[in-house]
Every structure is written in C-alpha cells, then in structure tokens.
C-alpha cells in the first residue's frame, strides 16, 4: 500500500512514495478495475437498467434538398402543358354543347357533367400556375381558336363524331398524365431512398394529377359508351385529332 508524504514546499513531478512494487501496482490496478466494472451493465441485466435516450422515440428531422434544375424544368413544362390541355378541353365542350344539346337533349346532363369536371381541372391548374409562378403557353390564343374550331366542327359532323373527338383527346391526355404521375412517383421513391423529405407540395401535386387523370379516363369511358366508335370516318378523325394533340403538347412544352 502506498501513501503520500505531504511536501508543500517542493512540487515533485511524482508524489513521493508513489513508486509501487510491481505486485502492489498490479493489486491496485485490479481493485480499480473491479470498481469501474461495477457500472458496466452486462447483457443479462434487467430491462429496468437499460438507457433510454430521447432520440429513440422522436422521429429524426429529415433533410429537404432544393429541387434540381431538371426537376424544376420538368414541373414547369408539365404544368404548362396541363393548363393548355384543360383550356382546350373546356373550349371543346363549350363549342360542342349548343348543337349537341339541341339535337340530343338526353345528352345534356352528361355533357354538363363532363364540362363541369373539365372546368374544375382548368381552375386547379390555373391556381397551380399562379402559385408556382409558371408562365402559361404563349400559344394560348391559338389554342383557344383551334379548340373552339375542333369542338364546333366535330359537333357539326354529328353526335358520334363529337364523342369520337372526346375519345381521341381523352386517350392522349390520359397517356400524358400517366407519364407525369409515373415520373413524379419515381422522384418520390428516389427522395425517400435517399432519406430526403418529399414534402406536402409534391405529394399533393401527385394526388391532384392522379385524380384528374382518373376523371379524364372516366370521360373516355363515357364517350365510348355513347357510340364514339360508330363515327363515320372513325380512323381518320381520331388519327388527325390524336396527332394534333401530340403536336400541341410538344409545342406547349417548348413555347
């Protein structure tokens, strides 16, 4: 056992008598270890002695990265095209309704229902464009004129042609929205895999586009039920309209 003689005047680097015999040193070390080990909890200890950090129960704050330039450009183009599409849809129905409703009054509720849904979509995309400061397509007046002409001419050709026009437009629009939903869902899974927060904005956007796509496909079904396929120059009419839609989508993305 070592003891220290107090030496106030001189400050030695090591206390006097601190030099222990090897055996004494080992015994001292062993006793020190035992007292330290008394605070270590072995795995067989009871759960009551488990440490309970707060971090375990609170969800970790997730990171939120800014959107990349490509993502912003994609959203910009997608929403611009969507707004242009809904503008065209509302104008097609507005132009089709007077002649069709006059000749086939039983179609009035259906046409009104489809028009109301399209007007709701148009309003939604207008709000999104204003909120996210996206510019609308510069071809707006041209699409207004083209959509009105398309609606009026197919209605003049008859009920079946009007329904075929609806079928063609809704097929193209449905595919277009499908692609967008798939792309945005890919982003969402990528973000979640990287541990980044997706955010309400993106989530709500995906839900909105999904809902709108479902309603457009419902219009497609209505159109087919109402003898869209009976239209006389069916292949030609739907071919022309679908090609026109694809061209309009391509132009609205750029301009």
């Amino acid at each position: 056992m070592a003891f220290v003689l107090p030496r106030a005047a001189v400050v030695p680097s090591l206390p006097l008598k601190a030099r222990l015999t090897p055996l004494a040193f080992q015994l001292q070390a062993r006793s020190r270890n035992v007292s330290a080990r008394r605070t270590i909890i072995s795995s067989a200890a009871s759960p009551a002695t488990e440490p309970e950090p707060e971090r375990l129960h609170k969800p970790q704050p997730s990171r939120r990265k800014p959107l990349s330039a490509e993502q912003k450009k994609y959203l910009d183009k997608a929403l611009r095209v969507n707004q242009a599409g809904e503008l065209a849809a509302t104008l097609i129905y507005t132009a089709q309704m007077p002649p069709i409703n006059k000749a086939y009054p039983h179609l009035r509720p259906l046409m009104k229902h489809m028009y109301d849904q399209e007007a709701g979509h148009f309003k939604k995309f207008n709000e999104l464009l204003a909120k996210h400061r996206i510019r609308p397509t510069a071809m707006y007046p041209l699409w207004q004129a083209a959509a009105t002409f398309l609606g009026w001419s197919t209605a003049a050709m008859g009920r079946e042609a009007a329904m075929a026009c609806t079928e063609a437009v809704e097929t193209e629009i449905g595919e277009h929205y499908n692609g967008q939903v798939r792309e945005l869902l890919t982003w969402m899974t990528d973000m979640e895999n990287r541990g980044e927060e997706v955010g309400e904005e993106l989530r709500l956007l995906i839900e909105d586009i999904r809902r709108i796509r479902d309603e457009e496909l419902e219009h497609l079904d209505h159109a087919v039920q109402n003898d869209a396929k009976e239209a006389n120059p069916y292949e030609l009419l739907t071919g022309v309209i679908r090609t026109g839609c694809r061209g309009a989508i391509w132009v609205s993305e750029k301009v």
Binding site: R64, K65, P66, L67, A69, K72, K73, L75, D76, L79, Q83, P98, P99, N126, E127, L129, A130, H132, R133, I134, R135, P136, A138, Y140, P141, W152, A156, G199, E200, E201, L202
Partner: protein, 251 residues
C-alpha cells in the same frame, strides 16, 4: 449555348467543378415553397460585391469600386478576377439583390388595395431602393454598362424577372395571354421611369411619381380600349352564329 471565343475563355477559366453552374439557365422556372433555392451568390462573391456597392457613390460602377470592396471584405485585389465582366457584375448584383429584397421591403396588410395600386407602390418602392442605396446618382453609368451588346441579354432578363416579381407580389393570378402583355408593358414602364429618375432633382422624387402615374394611366386607357374592342368583336361573332342558328342553319 453557342461558344463564342469570349464565352469559351470564360468556360475554361471556371474551375471544372463549377462549370455546371454556368449551364444553369437563370430564367425563372417552377417556384417551390418547400424546396427553397440556395442564395444566388456564393458567400465570398456576395461579401465582395456588397462591400463594393458601398464604394459606388464615390467611385461609380467601376473596377476601382470592386477592388476597394474586395480589400474591404478582407480579400486580395486579385479576387476581382472572380468577376470576368467587371463593373457590370456590380450592376447585376444590385439588380438581383434589390429584386429579391423587394418582398421584404414592402408588405400589403390591407387586402382592399387593388392590384393596380399595389403595382404602383411596388414600382415606387423599387425606385426608392435605388435612392436609398445611394446608387441613383451613378445609375446612368449602370444603364450605359447594361446597354453594351454583351450585357443586353442579361439586362433584359433581369428586367423581365423584376416585372414578374412585381406582378406576383401585387397578387396577380391571371395565367392567360394577359400574363405576357402585363409583364411586357410593366417592363417598359419601369425602364422609362428608372431613366427618368436619374434626371429627377425634385424632393423625394415627386416628379418621378407623377411620371409613373401618367404612364400607368396611359396603360390603363390603352389596355381598356384594346380589351373592349376584342370583347365587342367576340360578341359580334357569337351573335352572328346564334342568329344563323335561330334561322335554322345547321351550325
């Protein structure tokens, strides 16, 4: 982007890791409220340029102001090589920071104010910012720099971005053709008023305010006339179609 010799030189001067930054189009895109963008200037650039702006009233928009600013911010004189366009970068920094700071300078608690009045207040506030930062006496130099051929695209982009910002802050939610006409007309009015302000010696820029009011009044009258004419044409066309339908023509 087409590679002129000057652009190629700038690309090769940029460190390889930063070259992707040059490709970013500064044109405004989808604006996210949750995934916010990083600030437009890096810390070092912002420090040098902001301290250089304090020297502009004395030195003007010149390379000397940049050098003094760099020294003031604690960087070497050679740091001004970060700015290949020299004094124009100082002008651009002022334009960008004032545009982004506009929403902090002015808020509209009173919801009854119309969009037109809000636009007027925002334009005046932005012009006041020119005066507050002490830049208005040297702004003619800045306009000269902005009108150089190599700087015109950037200047026009900044002007249209400012116009978009003002309409957005004023609460404009139209997204049809008027989106373009409103921004184009406001860009013209703002540019004219800013030039007028550089020659304005009245107290508190009262003459500039009246100039702006006259331009906005002209815009209102012109826009109203064009809109009413188009509406009339639309009504005539619709009336003609309905008349023919009532006579039994199948259209």
């Amino acid at each position: 982007m087409s590679l002129t010799p000057l652009a190629l030189r700038n690309v090769l001067r940029t460190p390889a890791s930063l070259r992707p930054l040059l490709l970013q189009s500064p044109r405004a895109c989808y604006h996210s409220y949750e995934h916010t963008q990083p600030p437009p200037y890096r810390d070092a650039d912002a420090a040098i340029l902001s301290s250089a702006l304090t020297y502009v009233p004395a030195q003007g928009f010149t390379q000397e102001a940049l050098t003094l600013g760099a020294k003031d911010a604690g960087y070497l004189d050679i740091s001004t090589n970060l700015f290949p366009k020299g004094a124009f970068e100082l002008v651009k920094y002022h334009l960008v920071t004032q545009r982004l700071g506009l929403k902090d300078r002015i808020q509209f608690p009173d919801e009854k104010m119309g969009v037109g009045r809000k636009v007027r207040s925002l334009v005046l506030e932005r012009l006041r910012a020119n005066a507050d930062t002490g830049v208005v006496n040297r702004w003619q130099e800045a306009l000269a720099l902005m009108s150089l051929a190599e700087n015109i695209p950037t200047s026009l982009r900044e002007l249209s971005a400012l116009s978009d910002e003002i309409w957005f802050l004023a609460g404009d939610v139209s997204v049809d053709t008027s989106w373009y006409t409103k921004r184009a007309s406001l860009s013209g009015i703002y540019a004219a008023t800013e030039i007028y302000q550089t020659t304005d010696q009245s107290t508190d820029f009262k003459d500039t305010e009246q100039f702006l009011d006259r331009r906005l009044e002209e815009l209102r009258v012109m826009g109203g006339a064009v809109g009413n004419t188009l509406e009339w044409v639309g009504f005539q066309g619709g009336a003609l179609v309905n008349l023919m339908r009532s006579k039994g023509v199948r259209i």
